[in-house]
């Protein structure tokens, strides 16, 4: 625990150092990212120890603030999230050292290092805090620092808007959290979580309200649809290694909060689980659909974060259903799936964002339809990106499959039980996961295929080169390897996560382990099959090699079906690739298509362009904002500059008060 504090200290101090040395960009970046790396390594040690050895470490200190206390605790759940945070943030900081070099001399790099380290430190505090006030402060610092990171390239037009959207969204979310904390700590002397824990018993009639507040408050951070609007804005705006951390780790603090606070609200009724499943389905399916319709790489990934949060929420829903249904197995499986997916998504989404960063770094565009053929030019980025794609689609034998498998497993068990509501919800989970899987496969086939394969569609892509910076490459490779390992070592991961799962399901370790046992055996079965798969693939490759040895292997142009002059422009683009599916689901997407038909005898040019803006932003939020604005516009009429009327206001106020209060 002290090590965690020390790590946080290192982070903050190195951040300050980077800020001070801002004059010398090279130095400040080195200082900042080194500090971040060291801090993460330091903090991950106690976390892993807690996960392996179990037990909890507590640290209580006084804090001169009403209801506040400096109360930290490292239990299984916190430790698990701490591992996720440190793993991705550390790697991303290594990457960032190289990525930021591009701005050297054009921008002050001290602040971005500072805020990055503060962000990491605050995330650690969020998962460790056991006092409401401390949690809130850390939470807000987290939001604020990430806001400054999002607005790093403030000279780019969209970025300011994105930053505004982000901070507004997260603050409105916090408003709900404030209410929630006030509610949970009602009348209590201090806002320690220990006092919250009695809430379920003391005020069960308010538990539902608290649950809703928690879902909205934490859901905004996590990016539940329709609270996700900030996500597709903020992630593309931020520097890539920051997007990796935000999308991979930061939004997970919302999930953490949700799990942590559901525990306070006493035994959950069935409808909470069903509600979570519904949220998960909406976020998952709509998220992947909107991702499919995007042709900016980072926006696409951002929407996939929404989708994966949806998957995680499906897991949570299954878990809660299990608890309320009194089935330890289902509960444990649900939470296990959710938590493991938190970890896995952090890994592959971090990897994908880093890869995107390299692409941007090399081509200066994230527009998928302008890229292509990058695999030849950037082999490392390409290979790792492919690994990320396979992982995020959830295909065996990579890590994405493990967590989705657990959720499936729980859902199948749930279908087996009685209780129509449970069954329907679990069927929703199964069907939803299958649909999401299929669509995600389509989306990433598109992302990888169009960006890295085929011929370059623009001169940028033509001239792309792999970055020389060792930090960037190694970061991507590390994450890719992690994706493979966590996939092949599924049972071990589950075993490691058991304390967290137990904490989340509110069970003791033994029960949890027992309930997890069948799933673990199945996972070892999966590994067996994966082994067979790899052996088969290996031997087939060998066979292929032997067959082709000594035979004529020639190169030719792609078969062009008899076209006279095929050009790279004729390749399928991201938009055309996704078109069948976007048309299939047009009722949700409402894609705008603008077409210039070729006309005249000798048509000069024709063009078609599609864009899919966020339906909720346009259909829900903008109208609401407009309404509020018009109402406020009315209020402004009272201030029209005429002194006489101001004086009358005084008299009127007086009169009203007299009539109101003197009766």
């Amino acid at each position: 625990m002290l090590l965690c504090l020390f790590a946080a200290g290192v982070l903050v101090l190195s951040g300050l150092a980077a800020l001070v040395t801002s004059g010398k960009p090279r130095l400040s970046v080195v200082v900042g990212s080194t500090g971040a790396g060291v801090g993460c390594v330091l903090a991950i040690i106690p976390a892993v120890r807690t996960l392996v050895l179990g037990g909890t470490e507590t640290l209580r200190g006084a804090w001169n603030m009403p209801w506040g206390s400096f109360y930290l605790e490292l239990d299984g759940l916190s430790a698990f999230f701490l591992v996720v945070i440190c793993l991705v943030s550390g790697v991303a900081s290594v990457y960032g050292a190289g990525y930021l070099a591009a701005w050297r001399g054009r921008k002050a790099l001290g602040p971005v290092c500072f805020f990055y380290n503060v962000l990491v430190a605050s995330m650690m505090t969020v998962v460790l805090a056991r006092n409401g006030l401390l949690f809130l402060v850390a939470w807000e610092v987290m939001s604020l620092s990430s806001f400054f990171l999002v607005t790093f390239e403030s000279e780019r037009p969209g970025v300011r808007e994105a930053g505004w959207t982000y901070l507004v969204a997260t603050h409105l979310g916090t408003a709900f959290l404030l209410a929630l904390f006030a509610l949970l700590g009602q009348g209590a002397g201090s806002l320690d979580f220990d006092n919250f824990a009695t809430f379920g018993k003391s005020a069960p009639h308010l538990a539902g309200l608290a649950f809703i507040l928690a879902v909205v408050g934490f859901g905004t951070k996590a990016g539940f649809i329709p609270l996700h609007v900030w996500l597709p804005e903020a992630h593309p705006a931020a520097p890539s290694h920051v997007s990796a951390v935000m999308s991979g780790v930061m939004i997970k603090t919302g999930i953490y909060g949700l799990i942590r606070f559901i525990l306070f609200l006493g035994p959950p009724p069935m409808w909470w689980g069903v509600a979570l499943v519904a949220i998960g389905l909406t976020s998952g399916v709509l998220g992947v659909l909107f991702a499919l319709a995007q042709h900016d790489l980072k926006r696409l990934l951002a929407y996939h974060s929404v989708e994966n949060i949806g998957i995680i929420t499906l897991g949570l829903g299954v878990g809660v259903i299990g608890i309320s249904g009194g089935s330890a197995t289902i509960a444990v499986l649900g939470f296990a799936g959710a938590l493991l997916h938190v970890l896995n998504h952090a890994l592959f989404k971090g990897l994908l964002f880093l890869g995107t960063g390299s692409v941007l770094h090399a081509t200066h565009t994230g527009e998928i339809d302008h890229l292509g053929g990058l695999l030849r030019r950037m082999p490392w980025t390409g290979m790792t990106f492919l690994v990320g794609c396979v992982a995020i689609v959830g295909l065996p034998p990579l890590n994405g499959f493990v967590s989705e498998f657990l959720i499936y497993f729980g859902a199948f068990k749930g279908v087996g039980t009685s209780g129509p509501l449970t069954v329907v919800a679990c069927l929703g989970v199964i069907g939803g996961l299958a649909l999401i899987g299929g669509l995600a496969a389509a989306c990433f086939a598109k992302a990888f295929g169009i960006v890295f394969l085929g011929e370059p569609r623009s001169v940028h892509a033509q001239e792309a080169r792999e970055s020389r910076h060792l930090g960037m490459l190694s970061a991507m490779v590390i994450l890719a390897v992690a994706c493979v390992l966590f996939g092949l070592l599924g049972p071990l991961t589950v075993a490691g996560a058991t304390p967290a799962i137990a904490r989340a399901a509110g069970l003791d370790g033994a029960t949890t382990a027992a309930a997890l046992a069948p799933a673990v055996t199945s996972l070892s079965g999966v590994i067996l099959v994966a082994g067979i798969l790899l052996i088969a693939a290996g031997s087939l490759l060998l066979l292929r090699f032997l067959l082709l040895k000594g035979r004529t292997v020639t190169e030719a142009g792609t078969w062009d079906c008899g076209y006279a002059r095929p050009t790279v422009r004729m390749q399928y683009t991201a938009s055309s690739f996704a078109q069948p599916l976007t048309t299939l689901f047009r009722m949700f997407l409402r894609t705008h298509r603008t077409i210039h038909m070729p006309d005249e005898l000798f048509p000069k040019e024709a063009a078609v362009s599609t864009e899919t803006p966020d339906a909720f932003r346009r259909k829900v939020y903008q109208p609401v904002f407009r309404f509020v604005l018009t109402q406020l516009e009315r209020v402004r009429q009272i201030q029209h500059g005429h002194l006489q009327l101001y004086v009358l206001y005084i008299a009127v106020a007086l009169l009203i008060l007299l009539l109101w209060k003197m009766r």
């Binding site: 029209h640 500059g641 002194l643």
Partner: protein, 214 residues
């Protein structure tokens, strides 16, 4: 409760209505001055207890101030800013008169509602004071010229003065003088401000001072 006070009270009512009804600025100024004098006298006459030294002092001071100093100041300013004489109300004079009568009614009603503690002597003075305050307020709100707003403010002060004298037995002299001092400074400042305004805008129509809004 003696004949003197009733007479004064009625006269005050008349002054208020005159203020509302008259269109000439100089007249208004004088009317307010007279009103001030009346109230100064009332302060002496209304007391149940015998006339003390400092009460007399206060009464005298207020009479001097309101009867002589303020009118002089205001008339001088009015001359300096050489405005057209009309008062230029938002609300016409006759309408103002009727409104004034309405206000009188309201004031009497409120006076009847007041608990006895507020109105030991049970005289008409309290409603009249309130009436004066209302009229002052109405003047501020309904007239355009800066000076007439100053007049409105003075009228309010008159009313409040009377109110104070009746309601609270013996406000400490220091406070009274402080208040008087304040009023004096206020009028003084307002006059200077008026002069500045007339110099900047070459008019003192307050309703045209509406550049700042929103």
């Amino acid at each position: 409760m003696n004949a003197w006070t009733d007479a004064i009270v009625v006269l005050v009512a008349l002054t208020n209505l005159a203020l509302l009804g008259s269109s000439r600025l100089s007249v208004c100024i004088r009317v307010v001055a007279i009103q001030g004098i009346f109230f100064g006298l009332a302060a002496v006459l209304l007391r149940a207890e015998p006339l003390t030294m400092d009460l007399g002092l206060v009464a005298l001071a207020s009479v001097v101030m309101k009867g002589i100093v303020f009118p002089a100041l205001l008339l001088r300013t009015a001359r300096n800013v050489n405005i057209r004489r009309e008062v230029e109300p938002f609300v016409g004079f006759t309408t103002s008169l009727f409104i004034g009568l309405g206000l009188l009614g309201i004031a009497l009603w409120i006076g009847s509602q007041l608990p006895s503690a507020a109105n030991p002597t049970g005289s008409l003075v309290i409603p009249l004071a309130l009436f004066t305050v209302m009229v002052g307020l109405f003047t501020i709100a309904s007239r355009k010229k800066a000076i007439s707003q100053v007049l409105g403010y003075l009228t309010m002060e008159n009313g409040i003065f009377a109110f104070g004298v009746t309601v609270v037995g013996g406000i400490p002299v220091l406070v009274e003088l402080g208040v008087l001092m304040d009023v004096f400074v206020a009028v003084f400042v307002m006059c200077i401000a008026t002069w500045h305004i007339s110099r900047e805008f070459d008019h003192i129509d307050v309703d045209q001072l509406n550049a700042l809004k929103g």
